[in-house]
């Protein structure tokens, strides 16, 4: 297990390094002079020169890359060019919205998908199975941002159960904040739940064909008991990978959903940064999102090895 963990850890570091190089290259090398790009075509040469000095663009690119990564490792993401505040603080302020949203959406995804998938598998070929599969087929075809618009129309505009958007902050207690995140989380979760339910069902059906299920049935367990005691646990392995992938989709998908609900999360931050050409913020947020995806996948790999000892050997 230790060898496996060390191996995965090395590949995690390598991925992070290569990802940071790619992002740095796209954002700071490709546009030529980032300072001139950020200030636009009408900037005076001395303004550009001043910004170049302020951003430290006068040092060689390799040095800048090393400074950038060394800074990030210490939690220093540089200063925003438009707001003149530390980017790390801006990200932290937005993370308290984006992260709970993604976690809530993931929890909803699992809560919806597991029972649906298990139910469909246990009723394979029957009406209940067909119903769940039809619903998931529709679920994967619905764009989450459109679903969000409909939710707003029904629950905020017509029924007035929740407000149509905005975020009251966590300062007024947990419930008002959570209430503002419910609709966005549902909008994010439902299409993902449809995918996960399908994976859960097919993974379970694979398990139900295995010998150990036949043995369990032979020793006198009912179909249902065999399913719950033996098949579900084993079916979780592929399901776990998909959940890991989905977390990154939920984080990135949140960028779109935040626009609809006027939530002050990472998505809003990145769009403000794009429109004001604040490349430093764009670079940092993208690195953060990609870094999170890589770390989550690493965690999934480890969880895998814990569940299935055979995988430890292969690495």
């Amino acid at each position: 297990m230790i060898r496996y963990t060390v191996g995965r850890l090395l590949s995690l570091c390598l991925s992070l390094i290569v990802a940071s190089m790619v992002i740095f290259t796209v954002v700071e090398v490709v546009p030529g002079d980032p300072a001139a790009y950020m200030l636009g075509v009408n900037a005076r040469p001395d303004t550009v020169a001043a910004l170049r000095a302020e951003l430290g663009l006068d040092v060689p690119k390799v040095q800048r890359y090393l400074d950038w990564t060394a800074g990030m490792l210490q939690g220093d993401f540089g200063r925003s060019y438009t707001y003149r505040t530390p980017v790390s603080q801006m990200i932290l302020d937005r993370m308290v919205v984006s992260l709970p949203l993604a976690v809530l959406a993931l929890a909803l995804t699992v809560v919806i998908a597991f029972p649906a998938g298990i139910y469909a598998a246990s009723r394979r070929g029957k009406l209940g199975d067909a119903g769940v599969m039809g619903a998931t087929q529709l679920g994967v075809a619905v764009p989450n941002f459109w679903f969000a618009m409909i939710l707003v129309l029904v629950f905020a505009v017509n029924l007035r159960w929740v407000s149509a958007g905005g975020f009251p902050g966590w300062g007024n207690g947990v419930w008002p904040g959570l209430k503002a995140l419910i609709l966005p989380a549902v909008a994010l979760a439902l299409p993902q739940a449809a995918i996960l339910a399908r994976v859960m069902r097919s993974s379970l059906l694979d398990m139900l064909g295995e010998d150990f299920i036949r043995t369990a049935r032979a020793k006198g367990l009912s179909r249902r008991q065999a399913l719950w005691r033996h098949a579900v646990r084993n079916a979780l392995i592929p399901v776990l990978t998909i959940i890991g992938l989905q977390f990154s989709f939920l984080l990135a998908g949140g960028i779109v959903i935040e626009q609809i609900f006027y939530l002050p999360g990472l998505g809003r931050l990145i769009f403000q940064a794009i429109s004001s050409r604040d490349l430093i913020v764009v670079e940092s947020v993208v690195m953060l999102l990609v870094g999170l995806v890589i770390v989550v996948n690493f965690a999934v790999d480890l969880a895998y090895a814990l569940v299935d000892p055979r995988l430890r050997v292969r690495a």
């Binding site: 087929q137 529709l138 764009p143 505009v157 609809i260 996948n297």
Partner: protein, 273 residues
């Protein structure tokens, strides 16, 4: 052998949108550049079958023009993904276990860490928004998908006797990949292509919805939804119709993909995520 029902239904839905998109090159009910403010936000009726939007434009005509954008973007993105991903996958399988295989697969993992939305954001931040950037962003996202599917499927053929026979006959690995492996995995690639096509439609809609995709005056379903957002409570049809168009198109492609998979090889199970 009868065709699967899902295939027929899916193909019909897909043909409907494809037909509408093709028809829009020669004819649309109204000119979508024609603004008719006095007739704005009309509900669907005999004159405008799907109603009019906030500028009085005919929504049916906009949907037809938008289908063109969606299909073009998604199709080109699949082309990029296949064009680069399939050769990479074939190479990795042919050189299984080599350094090249390792580099290709690690590279794939790395691209997987960049969701298409994040790629689009990066590209847009530096090069500006536009349909071509949406194509590139979704296309890059498709590369590792095709590379993985290709490698996995190709590996299962490399151990087969007919490949051994080809090697004994003196064919090199590249030639075997193209002449023997590729035709055998083509079915699988077609099915995966259908799935990526439908994901591309969804991704294009999301990108143009947040303003990173097609720019005006190009019609796009995502942009129509963005325009409709503040008007949905006054005139629900402007928000419902473009969304339904996306759902039906994606549903059609997914059903077609499922049907094709059943038709081409009932044993093959393709991961749908």
């Amino acid at each position: 052998m009868s065709l699967p029902r899902t295939l027929i239904l899916g193909a019909l839905l897909t043909a409907l949108f494809l037909g509408g998109a093709l028809l829009s090159f020669v004819w649309t009910p109204y000119d979508i550049e024609l603004l008719d403010i006095p007739n704005r936000l009309h509900a669907p009726d005999a004159v405008n079958w799907l109603g009019t939007d906030h500028l009085g434009r005919d929504i049916l005509s906009m949907i037809m023009m938008g289908a063109r954008t969606s299909i073009a973007v998604a199709l080109l993105a699949v082309g990029i993904g296949m064009g680069i991903g399939v050769p990479l996958g074939l190479t990795a399988a042919a050189r299984r276990g080599s350094l090249l295989d390792e580099v290709i697969m690690r590279g794939n993992d790395l691209i997987f860490a960049f969701p298409s939305l994040v790629i689009a954001i990066l590209i847009t931040a530096v090069f500006g928004a536009g349909a071509s950037n949406a194509i590139i962003a979704i296309g890059i996202f498709n590369i590792p998908v095709f590379a993985r599917v290709t490698r996995g499927a190709a590996l299962s053929f490399w151990s087969r006797d007919f490949i051994l026979a080809a090697r004994v006959a003196g064919k090199n690995k590249a030639r075997i990949s193209v002449e023997h492996i590729l035709p055998n995995i083509a079915n699988l690639l077609i099915v995966q292509g259908t799935i990526q096509f439908s994901l591309g439609i969804l991704a294009e809609a999301a990108l143009s919805y947040i303003g990173l995709g097609a720019q005006p005056p190009t019609a796009s379903w995502g942009r129509m939804l963005a325009d409709a957002q503040t008007l949905a409570s006054i005139a629900p049809h402007v928000a419902l119709i473009p969304g339904l168009a996306i759902v039906l198109m994606v549903l059609g492609l997914n059903l077609m993909g499922d049907g094709l998979r059943d038709l081409l090889d009932p044993r093959i199970r393709v991961a749908r995520t």
